[in-house]
């Protein structure tokens, strides 16, 4: 470790602790919560660790501050009122964090300057006024012998003496207690072997110590390290003694087991999975560069770290397996046999065992004993080859496996991984999922806001209409003034807020006119009465003009504000969608994570079948959801195994065919829209569809007749049939007849598909297509009946416009509607097949046709034939689903439905940016679930499902240009449980009625654009409105209007204001009339 490494480790550890301290601090000082002793204790622990680290790494100033911080809280543990002021603690932490920033930016562990020390002392005194802070080691334990310490220009392991020598004062009681409680703990080695005391004879693997404080750990793990005390008594008795007093090894007690938090074990599993991945990469590199002398030591370090952590976190069997693997590495390293195929093969197999053991540790709490046996057998095998290690045999002393904690080097493994200069952060997937949920909620909330904005927009439009009516009214008033009246008040339309003064001005002017006896320019022939009349009318008109002008101004301002708000809303909608998408994409990992394992597998299998094979990977940086990536590894490995075992010919056969003796297996990955295509291919003997068909007939999978009518692709697809195999004798690596069927099932489980193509002698290619993410999918907007759904693009082979002529009835269809692909349908769609049959004829496929709305039981009434078809493939079934409309695809985030709402044909729900909820259909599942005898007509497999609109009360359309009337009537009828719609005038009502006629129309007479009588006239001419009952609701009380309304077809005539019960009774009465037989 050079200085920059040390700086990085120090800063990383310290920052983590600093964050923890701040969190505890916040919790302690939260005004709404009582001070918690637990938080105080936690703060104290963390500060102690920070002190420990700082002292260990020579950051004397930080150690001073942290020690005082810990001391302050140690003092206050029993009495929260004695806590140091928040600002003091904050200042101390800020100082430490500032120092960390400096060290991090310099990437160099600089010793503190004198000014730093002075500042640290000052801060320490503010925290603990009564303590002495002349030196960092005052009253504290000095660094142990061999502790890494600063020695001027470099960090040395054995140079800690100078700092120790300055220590004069013994530890205080409180500090001893700290040490006893937090820095040393009992062992958890799982064996009763006595612990040797004193300096160990060999390496650290012989040190059966388990310590908690990381800094102490770091010391103990140093190559020439003294053992650190393991009991509180020993610490108290000889606090400055660097020799440990070790207690006997013993099995862990239940209490000790309990103290390991489950999240720590979970974290271990996550971290070890990454470590195993690193081991794979390292082993792969070793295979490519056997002369790399750093590879094995690096791998040993990782294995050692796994072993230590596994032992500590109570995975004893896994720890032993890791130890055996570590021994394998050391044996190979010491023998210098790392370049031999035997050694590499053993290491590969050892790694596979380590990987399998991790999986069993995850599922069962620890690794299987059987795997440990395999690991030991492997070690024996290695020794049998003559490759000997001078290290202890893991078989001989398995229980003596030292379950030491991590070394100082372990800390580096906790450092962010990634390219140089790139900072990565490990995040718990559950946290990520919560973040995703919050992002989805953001989208939903924004959608709600959008609706409110729309409502305000509608009200604004209403207001403008009212304003227009006011202007019109004002103009009419002016026009209706007597001819001998004085000049008219300016019409409203001509008045601007600037042209018209305040109302008081107007009154003054009017008053002036009155007092002077005439208006300027109007002569003096007006008598007082006329002037009075003039003044009152004019004043009223002017006031109204001003009010209208004010309204005008406000309306314009409101319009402007609404425009801005709408713009912001749209921007926020886009942002919310982006956030949601980005967060979803955080889950994506590159396929390169799988590649090392594929290399390992190919290498292992090729060794077993004795073929030389080269694996080439392209597009490994293609990213895919972590869950999908993990689930894909099995199928991809199976395909690789098949390729090597069955596809690649033996070397001599290849040479005879003019091929290279080294077989080639490849994997290419690339994006297609929102999907990833992964092709796994080989240059082996290829596939012969005739042979496959022959085998299928011979094994009674299909009839000879079926075989003759099959296309080459159909014949190749036979490979995916359960139990189908072309191999007479099952091999250990492939050919058991369950592989490809299983592969297809798993890929379909990922909402993906798999196809195969190949020709004799030309190799074979399996094309796997899976979505990038199960949560973010690209989906078509599909309308079926009145409902709109999202249909993932990945499930739709293609779409087609369909006319009635394209659809064959059972009598037209070849074979009279015989089952095709297991489905029977009364109607079929003839689809041209791209390839010719095995006999060389152009092929057509007649696929069953279903109406999606019928399958989902959506079509409440007979409707026109849907015009679009979605061609769906589910397994070997292809069907056409007729829909009413298909719109462009867009990316949607799929939210799973709760368990009791899950349906086989529904993948989840999504909320569109405009706030609409849509179900995301799983069309292949829908098709797969169709029964053999499902018929197009009747959809007998479905229970009738009434829709909400059908279940709710009859719909009433209220048409009135007065917003208050509309709202009042709407409210009244809604309370009576009618489904109420509203329209502002005849035109709007007509538009709505053309979409869906209401049962009852509540109609005003006077309305802009199209009045009530005009609408009635139109309705009378239109048969589709014959069933609509019309109630006139008007202020026109004359008999003439009433008669005219009835003549035009109105069923009832109500006068405003109308009592609510009359309104409701009238509507109910009309509905009863229409529903009566």
């Amino acid at each position: 470790m050079d200085n920059s490494d040390i700086a990085e480790v120090f800063v990383g550890e310290m920052r983590t602790l600093s964050i923890a301290v701040r969190n505890h601090l916040r919790a302690l000082w939260r005004p709404d919560a009582p001070a918690s002793a637990a938080e105080g204790a936690a703060l104290f622990h963390n500060a102690t660790e920070m002190f420990d680290l700082s002292a260990t790494f020579g950051a004397e100033d930080c150690a001073l501050v942290c020690r005082a911080l810990a001391g302050a809280y140690q003092d206050a543990l029993g009495d929260q009122s004695q806590r140091a002021p928040f600002a003091t603690i904050d200042a101390a932490l800020t100082y430490v964090e500032g120092r960390l920033d400096l060290i991090a930016s310099a990437r160099w562990m600089e010793p503190p300057r004198e000014s730093d020390m002075n500042e640290a002392r000052r801060l320490a005194r503010t925290l603990q006024p009564d303590a002495a802070f002349d030196a960092v080691w005052d009253g504290a334990e000095p660094p142990a012998k061999g502790t890494p310490t600063w020695s001027g220009s470099a960090f040395t392991i054995n140079g800690g003496a100078s700092a120790h020598d300055e220590m004069e004062e013994p530890l205080t009681e409180a500090e001893l207690a700290i040490l006893a409680e937090f820095r040393v703990s009992t062992l958890r080695t799982g064996a009763d072997t006595p612990i040797p005391t004193g300096d160990p004879p060999g390496g650290d693997e012989d040190l059966p110590i388990t310590l908690v404080a990381p800094a102490v750990r770091a010391r103990a793990e140093s190559p020439h390290e003294a053992v650190v005390a393991s009991s509180a008594e020993a610490s108290r008795a000889a606090p400055t003694d660097t020799q440990a007093v070790a207690g006997p090894r013993r099995a862990p007690t239940a209490e000790e087991l309990d103290v390991i938090p489950p999240e720590m074990r979970h974290l271990f599993l996550v971290e070890t999975a990454e470590d195993v991945q690193d081991l794979r990469v390292a082993l792969l590199k070793l295979g490519q560069r056997p002369d790399d002398h750093f590879a094995l030591p690096a791998m040993s370090r990782i294995a050692h770290k796994i072993r230590g952590a596994a032992g500590t976190l109570q995975f004893p069997t896994y720890a032993e397996i890791a130890m055996v693997f570590e021994e394998l590495l050391k044996t190979v390293q010491q023998s210098g046999a790392q370049s031999t195929p035997t050694a590499q093969s053993v290491l590969l197999r050892g790694l596979v065992i380590l990987q399998s053991a991790l999986a069993s540790a995850e599922s069962k709490g620890d690794a299987d004993q059987g795997l440990l046996g395999q690991a030991r057998a492997l070690y024996d095998e290695l020794r049998a080859t003559g490759v000997e290690s001078q290290a202890l045999s893991p078989r001989a002393e398995p229980s003596a496996a030292p379950t030491t904690l991590g070394t100082a080097a372990d800390s580096t493994s906790k450092l962010p991984r990634g390219a140089e200069g790139e900072s990565l952060l490990r995040v718990d997937v559950r946290r990520l999922d919560t973040l995703i949920s919050h992002a989805a909620e953001l989208t939903m909330n924004r959608a709600g806001m959008s609706h409110h904005i729309e409502d305000v927009g509608r009200l604004q439009a209403e207001m403008e209409l009212s304003l227009a009516r006011l202007r019109q009214l004002s103009a009419q008033l002016n026009e209706s003034r007597p001819a001998d009246s004085p000049p008219q008040t300016p019409t409203i339309g001509a008045i601007s807020p600037h042209a018209v003064g305040s109302s008081s001005d107007a009154r003054l002017r009017a008053g002036g006119l009155s007092r002077s006896g005439g208006a300027p320019g109007h002569g003096l022939d007006w008598d007082e009465l006329e002037l009075d009349r003039f003044t009152e009318t004019d004043d009223a008109l002017r006031s109204m003009a001003e009010a209208i002008a004010d309204l005008n101004t406000n309306a314009r301002a409101l319009k402007l504000a609404m425009g801005q708000l709408s713009g912001l809303s749209v921007a926020q909608a886009e942002l919310a969608t982006e956030i949601q998408r980005d967060v979803m994409h955080v889950r994506l990992v590159p396929l390169s994570d799988l590649v090392p394992r594929l290399h390992v597998e190919v290498k292992g299998i090729s060794a077993v079948v004795r073929k030389e094979v080269l694996l080439t990977v392209r597009g490994e940086m293609t990213q895919i959801d972590r869950n999908i990536s993990e689930a894909l590894s099995g199928p991809l490995i199976e395909l690789m195994r098949n390729a090597v075992a069955h596809g690649i010919e033996p070397a001599d056969e290849r040479v005879e065919r003019g091929k290279s003796p080294v077989g080639s297996v490849w994997m290419h990955a690339y994006y297609v829209g929102s999907e990833v295509v992964i092709e796994v291919g080989d240059d082996g003997k290829g596939l012969n569809p005739h042979y496959l068909a022959h085998r299928a007939v011979a094994r009674n999978f299909i009839s000879e007749e079926t075989a003759r009518s099959m296309t080459p692709q159909d014949a190749l697809d036979l490979m995916f049939l359960p139990g189908f195999t072309t191999v007479d004798r099952a091999q250990s690596v492939a050919g058991r007849g369950i592989g490809l069927d299983d592969v297809r099932t798993k890929i379909q489980g990922l909402k993906g598909s798999i196809q195969v193509r190949g020709e004799p002698g030309q190799g074979a290619v399996f094309r796997v297509r899976v979505p990038i993410s199960l949560s973010v999918v690209r989906a078509l907007r599909v309308r079926a009946g009145d409902e709109v759904f999202a249909a993932p693009v990945s499930s739709v082979q293609h779409t087609a416009s369909v006319s009635a002529l394209d659809i064959l009835t059972s009598t037209d269809a070849v074979g009279g509607g015989a089952p095709a692909g297991g489905l029977r349908s009364g109607r079929r769609l003839r689809v041209e097949v791209a390839e010719e049959s095995l006999t060389g004829e152009q092929q057509y496929e007649e696929i069953p046709v279903f109406v999606l709305a019928e399958l989902l039981d959506l079509a409440a009434e007979p409707r026109r034939e849907p015009a679009q078809a979605l061609i769906i493939e589910a397994g070997r079934r292809r069907v056409a689903l007729l829909v009413d409309d298909v719109a462009d695809a867009s990316e949607v985030v799929v939210q799973a439905l709760p368990e009791h709402l899950r349906r086989h044909a529904v993948r989840g729900a999504t909320v569109t940016p405009d706030g609409q909820v849509r179900l995301v259909l799983d069309l292949p599942e829908l098709v797969a679930a169709l029964r053999e005898d499902a018929q197009v007509s009747g959809a007998p497999r479905l229970r009738p499902v009434p829709r909400l609109t059908r279940a709710l009360a009859p719909r009433v359309l209220v048409v009135d240009d007065s917003v208050s009337i509309r709202r009042t009537v709407e409210l009244t009828l809604s309370r009576a449980h009618f489904d109420v719609q509203v329209a502002r005038d005849g035109v709007e009502a007509l538009e709505m009625m053309l979409v869906s006629p209401p049962r009852v129309l509540m109609l005003d007479i006077e309305m802009p654009r199209l009045d009530g009588f005009e609408l009635l006239s139109i309705m009378r001419e239109s048969p589709q409105f014959a069933e609509v009952r019309v109630v006139m609701l008007t202020a026109r009380a004359s008999e003439k209007h009433r008669r005219h309304a009835h003549a035009l077809g109105a069923s009832a005539y109500l006068l405003k204001p109308c009592p609510q019960e009359v309104l409701v009774d009238t509507v109910r009465g009309l509905l009863e009339e229409t529903s009566a037989p």
Binding site: L856, H900, H904, E970, F978
Partner: protein, 214 residues
């Protein structure tokens, strides 16, 4: 019988904050009282009561749901509520024991009872109230006609004798009836529902069964 204050504690529907404060005041006010709190509401035209502990939330305005295929007819669709997709159900068919033919959504011939403190009345049916019931992951929204007061119901006020319940000739399936809330001084009686039993049947009825397509 204890002297339970009978003044209605109307929850202000127009301001959640105000409603929250009033609810809080209500809780404090009744904290010392015995008995359980019940939400009074109208369902199938019949005054009902459900224990507050069984309810998560009351939505005064029900979002429009989207159709969920392969569901029983009393399942009206799903809608998003915060981070969860909620199923909106009409409990009336189950309550009435009519799971077969076409039951009217609202029984047309059911007389509307007196319901003096109907919070949702001023919003009308477009904001049909909904009771959110059940634990997260198993939540359903019950569509009801109107939501009223919260009442503290003592043991004395809750008639649970099977004979008395049978004598009341309630239209509901007996399995869903926990008792009859008969307030003192002859106030409006309410059917106290066994929310857990109803919820269990609703959830079970919604599950897609193996071998059954809908």
């Amino acid at each position: 019988m204890p002297d339970v204050p009978r003044e209605p504690t109307t929850v202000a529907p127009d301001a959640e904050g105000v409603a929250g404060l009033q609810l809080e005041a209500h809780v404090e006010r009744y904290a010392e009282q015995s008995g359980d709190e019940y939400l009074l509401f109208l369902c199938a035209g019949i005054p009902c009561a459900a224990p507050l502990r069984a309810l998560r939330e009351v939505l005064l305005s029900t979002p429009r749901p989207v159709f969920l295929p392969f569901s029983p007819r009393w399942m009206l669709g799903v809608f998003p509520l915060r981070m969860e997709m909620i199923g909106l159900v009409d409990p009336v068919p189950l309550l009435l024991g009519d799971l077969g033919g076409e039951t009217p959504f609202w029984p047309a011939d059911t007389p509307a009872p007196s319901f003096p403190t109907v919070v949702s009345s001023q919003y009308g049916a477009r904001t049909t109230p909904t009771l959110i019931v059940g634990a997260p992951g198993q939540t359903l929204a019950w569509l009801v006609q109107a939501v009223g007061d919260i009442a503290r119901v003592t043991e004395d006020e809750l008639v649970t004798s099977p004979e008395q319940i049978a004598a009341a000739r309630l239209p509901f399936v007996s399995r869903y009836v926990a008792g009859i809330y008969a307030p003192p001084q002859g106030g409006q009686q309410h059917v106290a529902l066994d929310a857990d039993a109803l919820m269990a049947d609703l959830v079970e009825g919604l599950r897609e069964k193996d071998g059954e397509n809908g």
